[in-house]
Amino acid sequence: MEPRRDADELGVYVHVPFCSHRCDYCAFATWTDRGHLMGAYVSACLAEMERAYCEGLAQASTVFVGGGTPSLLPPALLAELVAGVRRQPDAEVTVECNPESTSRELLERLRDVGVNRISLGVQSLVPHVLDGLGRRQVPGAVARAVELIGEVGFPTFNVDLVYGGAGETDEDWRATLDAVLHLDPAPPHVSAYALTVEAGTPLARDRARHPDDDVQADRYVMADEVLAAAGLSWYELSNFARPGHSCRHNLACWRQADFRGFGCAAHSHAAGRRSWNIRSIDRYVAAVANGSCPTAGEEVLSRERQALERLELALRTSDGVPAECLPATPEMDGLVERRGDVLVLTRRGRLLANEVTLRLSVPGTTLAHLG
């Protein structure tokens, strides 16, 4: 028997694979030359959803529309896409936006179709740092977008940041953090990511711009201190929020809840079965159009693997893992701390999370319980 789940919990992710410009570090499934397919793409997504609902897919408890740059879609089209997802009345509905394409019209339309959370891709507020990331940003666009988010009236929103890019100094990072915290309204949620070199990206080919681990560690510590002081505490390695503002969609994902992905390259998870859709826009659209299943691959996790993964994901969050899942060796000192029955990563432990993860084991009792 599978472990019991809350029957009401289902995440829906919708992927929007369009960008006006590809940043140098980006390895996501996104394209800058497929704008002419926006209409066809949204229709395909809606068709894929419709098919899923015919097959009995439940109403979503959380919805996340990510990309790419969802806000690049014409407002009406994006609203139509969001409206296609069936959801529970109190569902969290997030849409990722780029500051430049965040207009009042767009935000109002999104609000009107039930979007209640905006995730704004900012990355940095220092021009030369953005240059180093190969990212474009119109000066003042972030402040304007945030102001609009406040005016149109979203109960919560997030700002995405990246640190450790070439040419970024401690002061630059500090400046970005301070500027973000002084936005009006101030964001109740910040995601701060260490710049990661992904294979095949322009960044990967340019060794001179590769980040230094020690520098990134310093920046993480700075972010953790500055954000905590502003009342945003970590609830996942790279995510910080005021109480009540954590992203429910992601949290559910890290708690191994089921989620269903729509659109090209979108991933799904249902009770230990993971699957993913065709990566390219063109082939995805074609597959849906001719009625075939857009799934490109799947993997079925063994019970042991599921149990281990559950721990691995939990370890990344402030939920922590049961104490018996980690060895009580001296090398764990300072990496985890005990909170009741669970072990939670310390700040140093968060920076060395892989080392801790490698030492996780599923206690026999947990497996027996699963069986």
Binding site: Y193, A194, A265, H267, E309, E312, L351, L352, N354
Partner: protein, 595 residues
Amino acid sequence: MVDIAKIRNFSIISHVDHGKSTLSDRILELTGAVDARDMREQYLDSMDIERERGITIKAQNVRVHWRDHILHLIDTPGHVDFGYEVSRSLAACEGVVLLVDASQGIEAQTLANCYLAIENDLEIVAALNKIDLPAADPDRYAAEIERVLGLPAKDVLRISAKTGEGVDALLDQVVARIPPPEGDPDAALRALIFDSYYDQYRGVVSAIRVVDGTLRSGTKVRFFQASTTHDVEEVGVRTPVPVPVDALGPGEVGYLAAGVRNVGEARSGETVTDAARPVAEALPGYRHPKPMVFCGLYPVDGDEFPDLREALEKLQLNDASITYQPETSTALGFGFRCGFLGLLHMEIVRERLEREFDLSLIATAPSVAYVAHLTNGDVEEVDNPSSMPPQQNIADIEEPLLKITILTPAEYTGTVMELCQTRRGRLERMQYLSAERLELVYVLPLAEVVVDFFDQLKGKTKGYASLDYEPAGLETSDLVKVDILLNGQPVDAFSSIVHRSKADEYGRKMAQKLRELIPRQLFDVPIQAAIGGRIIARETVKAKRKDVLAKCYGGDISRKNKLLDKQKAGKKRMKSIGRVEIPQEAFVSALRLDD
């Protein structure tokens, strides 16, 4: 049996790449020994490695017919490591063809082998090869041959082994100038083994030259050095296909199969005599091969240790000059301390082990055999830094020396001398071969040569210098053992015996190299180099601070798991030195001392 007056036994001597194998191929073709359509390059080189590297490791011999004569061509090993084997092959000949590249002239090995031929009283037929090349300058190098070796320039033949031009004239000269062998068919049997190889069906098959008497199939023979008696199962000649014959008479070259189980009992230089009528004295010149260079060989995967043992056993059947004995390293596990004739020999053996036996090996840095005289009067041979007695028990240490001969274009004289000087060399002789070329003779500690000396020499002279060497005894030297400690623990695989004047440099370099190779751990790892208890260098691998995947959303989970699995598998392959985990590759890179 054959009319002795019609026999000519000869070898081709030349420097690597001067075209010896090509000339052998042409001779086989021209004499009709090998049909043109069966011809393949380097016909006589039977090992893959020989063909690939273009060198001959095992001596081969072949009987061909030319006009109404019988020629025995004895192909000699083509590298300095096998100098002794060359000398035994030459002992089976009355003459040599000295083959010199017409675009490069005499090289160090040509010179060494030519001196060997002169010492052995062999007739020398000199030929300049590759005259078809645009860069060929036969007049110039014929003059050089006359000046350096005293062979008249007008007698130097000009050939192209590649096109076949002049090869028939060369064979005519071999017949005309090289004397036939002498020997008494009725005297007691004396025959020289000059090479042996192991055949899995027949046991050891030896290349043999009859000096006196007659070697008959079905008789009993005695091996003089090995003190063993064997039944002659088969004698024959190679044409190059083996053809059994009833008997081999004086002057004849052929093969002998006598049920010998390993080549160590039929070494080059062995004298074969009639068991019923043994001669009183062996043929001169036998030497027991002595390993010069040593290294530890360890399987990358510890489970392959038994396979490595079996592979070494099998290789030794065919190459008696390899020595090996089990040793244990805290860092590398179980392996063998192996001895080799020289650096190339070491490389070849290692390559054969990996290639023919499908093993993956780690080799420690090459070392030499030191002789330690202890304060209590004992004498110990130390071929492994870990078996070095404590400093306070040592009265003095001797190290093996090499006499090396370098031929170099004069413009590189300064560079070569500087290299030899930094390797603790002592100049013995310096002589101009011509206005542009110079011969330098140095005595150098072997230990200084085994570590990338050839590469340095080649690099610094753009490949123009050539080298030959021979052992030159032992000499007392101020040597110390440098230990490398990781997190306070000595790592035997990195210990080295070095001259005191170079200890600091070695320690510093090794510590720096390891700092770069050892992955950061959860704690600071000090790396120290020490002589006895005295620290001479120190580096630190700082504790790692960040090892985390920044993003882990729905689509990232599978990918993240793959990364973690990889990291986990990597951890398994690591060797632990105390609490420090070191990937296998770090050992391999650290032990590669060429940079």
